[in-house]
Symmetry: C2
Subunit: 244 residues, 2 copies
């Protein structure tokens, strides 16, 4: 059944109104008609609805039933990603969303080669948020994960330390995810995951992470590219926490 | 220290000869000289060597010591990948090699949209093997994983059933990897992993896999793209088997 994300203000009592591109898409591309059913999702709730009226600009639906989106993981994983070359950030965004991350926070660390500032990143952020939306639709997520503004290393460490669990992946040492992630402790918890850019992290950065209580994680002896590490780490955390 | 793969016939007693592009690269790009050390790898053994003579066409090295390549996992994972659009197969190849797969076998299944035959795949295979070589170098692998010829579904199932453990990932059900993969049982074992193409598998294909003893695996409720599933599955198997 077709599935679309809606906003809070699209839901009015027992009805949901769809406007804009989605309305056009439902009528023109999907050729849906009055009486057809579709799933509309807002904040981890899937609303099963029936179309009551349809035009190119508006689809008006009646809510038949609702249920929590069952594809949504029971952990809230935020990926803090040291900014790589920007095409890699697109791949990372798409995959992190598919795999269940709720937020992606780009971070400038010592070894970042690409160092956009907040202003120069604005247009890119717009594109990344579009990629996140498409990935959320495709993977049946219950929310649209957001790409936040770029922050610096110090701010990232401070934010990471506020999660229930936080990890930084380091190629020169650390403990494996299998020794720290498990389904019983992680249920309904927030997880912060910090991944380096092309050059990895400076030793001094890892020391600061360690002192702040962020667990230092080794992903084995094979050197992973900076876009492989987050895809792999999110997969492993989701599996070990019982979400895959 | 720079690191290159060599063949068996390059190793003569206590010396290793490097020819071709690598020799040129060592002299010209890396500007290495007589007395410099480099690591040469053949079949999961890293040879620490010293350069005795160097020209554009040949570098002659003395073996100082050798040790097993410590980046090599202790399982032999073969990825049977139903053929997706070919650019996706490049990404899958690169990532599967980084993450530790030893072989990649392209398979034609019912729902494959891209259906090259052995002949039309030959050129592509050459390119994929180059990608595998680069990924093996970059990730410090101890072997160069190989991309094999395309096989059909029936042959894939037959080959999968010969591994010590074999899995097929299915989006409509199955058990999680966490319930079947562990470090103690998997050490030194061969693992076959079967992943679908864009359209996934037919129910009838999954039935055949199940009857042949291939374990049916669910990777959770989020629908993963066909290139995300193998990257994610190889990561999870490597982590759970103690190789990440």
């Amino acid at each position: 059944m077709p599935r679309f994300f809606v906003n809070k203000n699209n839901i009015i009592d027992n009805h949901i109104i769809i406007n804009g591109g989605d309305a056009l898409h439902i009528g023109r591309s999907l050729r849906m008609k009055i009486g057809d059913e579709l799933v509309l999702c807002y904040e981890k709730i899937d609303y099963k609805t029936k179309i009551l009226s349809i035009s190119d600009s508006e689809v008006y639906c009646e809510i038949l039933s609702n249920a929590p989106t069952d594809a949504e993981p029971d952990i809230e994983l935020t990926l803090y990603q040291a900014v790589p070359k920007l095409d890699k950030l697109e791949l990372i965004t798409q995959k992190a969303v598919e795999l269940g991350a709720v937020k992606i926070v780009p971070v400038i660390t010592s070894r970042c080669i690409s160092r956009p500032n907040k202003k120069s990143f604005a247009k890119k952020k717009e594109r990344l948020n579009k990629i996140a939306l498409e990935a959320a639709k495709q993977s049946n997520r219950g929310i649209i994960p957001e790409i936040l503004d770029i922050i610096d290393f110090k701010t990232a460490v401070s934010q990471l330390s506020k999660h229930d669990f936080s990890f930084v992946c380091y190629e020169k040492g650390g403990i494996p995810f299998t020794s720290v992630v498990n389904a019983s402790d992680f249920k309904n918890k927030s997880v912060g995951l910090f991944i380096g850019s092309e050059g990895g992290f400076e030793e001094s950065e890892i020391e600061i992470c360690g002192k702040t209580g962020i667990k230092i994680i080794s992903m084995g002896k094979r050197i992973l590219r900076c876009e492989t590490a987050p895809i792999s780490a999110v997969s492993i955390i989701m599996a070990l926490s019982g979400n895959m």
